[in-house]
Structure formats: structure tokens, C-alpha cells
């Protein structure tokens, strides 16, 4: 697991730097290439190695963490988005951000319920 952590950090740095550079250069191609290559390297490493990368405890932890993160995240962006939209006369520059956040909150809710339905069925409903 230690090796995987090191490799993961290296890949993250690599992808992050290339994406930042390509955004400055105003071209998408390097960014997408870097992300794809990073994903491929990560995938290949996972397949080739013998170390256990995750066990049921880690999976449980990440799922519980996702749940809390999702609830806090959705409430925050819903509120912030709504605030920006309401203040569109005082701060017209942020209106687009407000709509983006509100749509994201809505997409999150819709996506969550779709997956809830799927897992509900999977676990015997």
C-alpha cells in the first residue's frame, strides 16, 4: 500500500502540472492526454502489483466519508448558489457562478437518487 501511495502522489503531481501548463497555454490536448496517461499508469500498476490496495475497512471508511462530504457539499453549494442568484442585482458578476452551483446541486441530488434506486434494487428490494 505504501508503494501505491507514492506512485499515486507522483501521478497526481504530474497530471496537475501538465494540466496547469496546458490551461495557461490555452489548449486542451495536453490536459486530456495527461489525465488519460495518468489514469492508464494507475490502472496498469494496480493490475500488476501484488499488494492489497484496499480492504473492506478502507472501503467502508471511504463510503462513510463520501456520505458526509456529499451532504455537506450539496447543502453548501445549494445555499451559496441561491445567495449569488438572489444578489444578482448587487453583484451581477457572480450570477453565472450562482447558476452553475445551483445546477450542480440539482444534478447531485438527481444523480444521488438514481444511484440510490440502483443500489436499493441490488440489495434486495
Amino acid at each position: 500500500m505504501e508503494n501505491y501511495r507514492i506512485i499515486r502522489t507522483i501521478i497526481a503531481l504530474f497530471v496537475g502540472i501538465i494540466v496547469a501548463l496546458s490551461v495557461i497555454q490555452e489548449s486542451i490536448v495536453p490536459a486530456i492526454l495527461a489525465i488519460v496517461i495518468g489514469a492508464m499508469i494507475s490502472y496498469i500498476y494496480k493490475k500488476k502489483t501484488n499488494e492489497t490496495l484496499e480492504d473492506e475497512r478502507i472501503v467502508k471508511i471511504s463510503e462513510k466519508a463520501s456520505r458526509i462530504a456529499m451532504v455537506l457539499f450539496s447543502i453548501s453549494i445549494a445555499i451559496i448558489g441561491l445567495v449569488f442568484i438572489t444578489l444578482r442585482n448587487e453583484y451581477p458578476d457572480f450570477t453565472q457562478a450562482g447558476f452553475t452551483l445551483s445546477y450542480s446541486a440539482v444534478a447531485l441530488l438527481a444523480l444521488y437518487y438514481i444511484f440510490y434506486g440502483y443500489y436499493n434494487k441490488k440489495y434486495g428490494y
Binding site: 441490488k122 440489495y123 434486495g124 428490494y125
Partner: protein, 65 residues
């Protein structure tokens, strides 16, 4: 996981609803367990075994990976 929950439940003449209430879970969970679609947590498995005054291995049949 395969299990005999339905059998034990029938032996005591309980509905899924009644068993669920006794164990503190939803009716859907009992249904899901009996359909082999949901594996209960260790705590719930012990509760079930204790409720039917038997061992976990009598109710749940572990068949390996």
C-alpha cells in the same frame, strides 16, 4: 449469502414484519436477507442467532469466495 432465515422464521411462526420489529430493522432488510441479496452485519447476525437461540453457522451458510 445463503441462509436458513426463512426456515427459522417459519418454525416460530413469525411474519417478516414481526421478525423485523424484534430485531430492530426494516421489513425490507429481512426480505433482502431471505433472498440472499443482503449480508447482515456481524452485530445483526449475532442478534438473529441469539433471537433463534442457535449459532450463526446454523442460520448462515458460508461457501467461501
Amino acid at each position: 449469502m445463503k441462509n436458513n432465515l426463512k426456515v427459522y422464521r417459519a418454525m416460530q411462526d413469525l411474519t417478516q414484519e414481526e421478525l423485523a420489529k424484534e430485531l430492530g430493522v426494516t421489513r425490507q432488510t429481512i426480505i433482502a436477507i431471505e433472498k440472499d441479496k443482503y449480508d447482515p452485519s456481524l452485530i445483526l447476525a449475532f442478534k438473529i442467532a441469539r433471537f433463534f437461540e442457535t449459532s450463526i453457522e446454523d442460520i448462515f451458510i458460508y461457501q467461501g469466495d
